[in-house]
């Protein structure tokens, strides 16, 4: 080896201090940009995870509430209507409903907001056996969170009730009320679950649906086919 690393006649160029400093500055800027993007992506992932958890919670709670109301029994259809006292309030609902589980049977199921606020707040579900109608030795179950235990957010549920059948015009018109007097049984119950997230202040997770509690007397004798079709046609929000 002659030690010459360049072609004869051409001098090998070294790197000056200025060039080195410029290169380091350029690399620093690029690293900062890359780290900024990475950091934002991480923060966005966390936000999305929290939002997904809220959506999961709302969907599960909605499913539980829907099932509870679909399995409800109007006191008029019970042998001893005085055995239960349903309650229909804006933030609280108590209906006799068939519950599956270790001790299946008819329970008075109460859904209400939990105590406190902030991260510990959750919706409560309490089941009290309807005396003489529940099989086995069922006892009043301790209150438990509705759905999953929420972490980092405060779910709220709101009920509205209709006592008259909807009116049909160009639209379907329903007169919902915030609460019902004792002795009334609703034709429809609207359920709204709302979760406000700090990360999405203008876009809370809000799910809304309505359920006919139990069976409608007007539809007695009718039969529904299991022909529910759900088609997602590729929304591009």
């Amino acid at each position: 080896m002659s030690g010459r690393l360049h072609a004869p006649g051409l001098r090998r160029k070294a790197v000056t201090l200025i060039e080195l400093l410029v290169a380091i500055a350029g690399l620093t800027v690029l690293s900062l940009v890359a780290y900024g993007v990475y950091d934002q992506t991480q923060a966005a992932s966390l936000k999305i995870a929290r939002r997904q958890a809220a959506i999961d919670y709302a969907l599960l709670a909605m499913k539980e509430l829907t099932l509870l109301l679909e399995n409800a029994v109007a006191p008029a259809n019970l042998d001893r209507p005085e055995a239960v006292r349903p309650e229909f309030k804006a933030d609280r609902l108590a209906v006799p409903s068939y519950v599956e589980g270790a001790s299946p049977g008819l329970y008075l199921v109460t859904v209400s907001p939990g105590e406190g606020s902030g991260e510990g707040a959750h919706l409560l579900r309490r089941e009290s056996p309807v005396a003489g109608l529940t099989s086995g030795e069922a006892e009043q179950a301790p209150a438990r969170p509705l759905g999953l235990r929420p972490e980092g957010f405060e779910p709220r549920v709101r009920f509205r009730y209709a006592v008259a059948p909807p009116r049909l015009g160009a639209d379907v018109q329903v007169d919902y009320r915030e609460e019902l007097e004792a002795g009334l049984w609703p034709v429809l119950v609207e359920i709204v679950i709302r979760i406000e997230l700090e990360d999405y202040p203008t876009n809370p997770v809000e799910l809304r649906t309505a359920v006919i509690p139990g069976r409608l007397p007007s539809l007695a004798g009718t039969r529904e086919t299991a022909a529910t079709e759900i088609a997602a046609r590729g929304a591009r929000p």
Partner: protein, 147 residues
């Protein structure tokens, strides 16, 4: 490095082999380099935005599906004789509680006496009021037959 290695070009001192002037970056090279950098950053940002879309779409589909269920239940609560005489609007109508969602019910009597009820629910991506709802944004169709 010796001072003789330096050349004076337009007042700038460049380092170059003797007899060969070192070329600086041209404007075109700079533009191309900047474009490549911008494209790279844009691609990363695009990925960043795309990661948020599934969450948003999932929420919209869940909301749409539950709203379709709500409308079906409301229609199901109507006495059958009223339902058979109903001529719902043919256009999508906003849902009062959540105006960015629109729905269109259809009712069809079958020869066997059954009534087919379907509800299509869509989401309006624009906030513009008074504009026709784009039916291409339909996200959920639920149907039920009442015998």
């Amino acid at each position: 490095m010796r001072l003789s290695d330096r050349d004076e070009v337009n007042g700038w001192t460049t380092l170059s082999p003797k007899g060969r002037k070192r070329r600086a970056f041209s404007v075109v090279e700079l533009i191309v380099a900047t474009a490549v950098f911008v494209v790279g950053v844009a691609a990363i940002y695009d990925q960043f935005v795309r990661t948020q879309l599934p969450s948003k779409r999932r929420l919209l589909q869940a909301q749409g599906r539950l709203l379709a269920h709500q409308k079906l239940e409301e229609i199901r609560a109507v006495p059958a004789e009223d339902l058979l005489q109903w001529n719902p609007a043919e256009a999508f109508r906003p849902i009062e509680a959540q105006p960015r969602f629109h729905y269109k019910p259809t009712v069809a009597a079958r020869p066997d006496g059954a009534v087919d009820v379907t509800v299509a629910v869509g989401w309006d991506p624009s906030d513009a009021e008074g504009q026709a709802f784009p039916e291409g944004q339909v996200i959920v169709v639920e149907g039920r037959s009442l015998l």
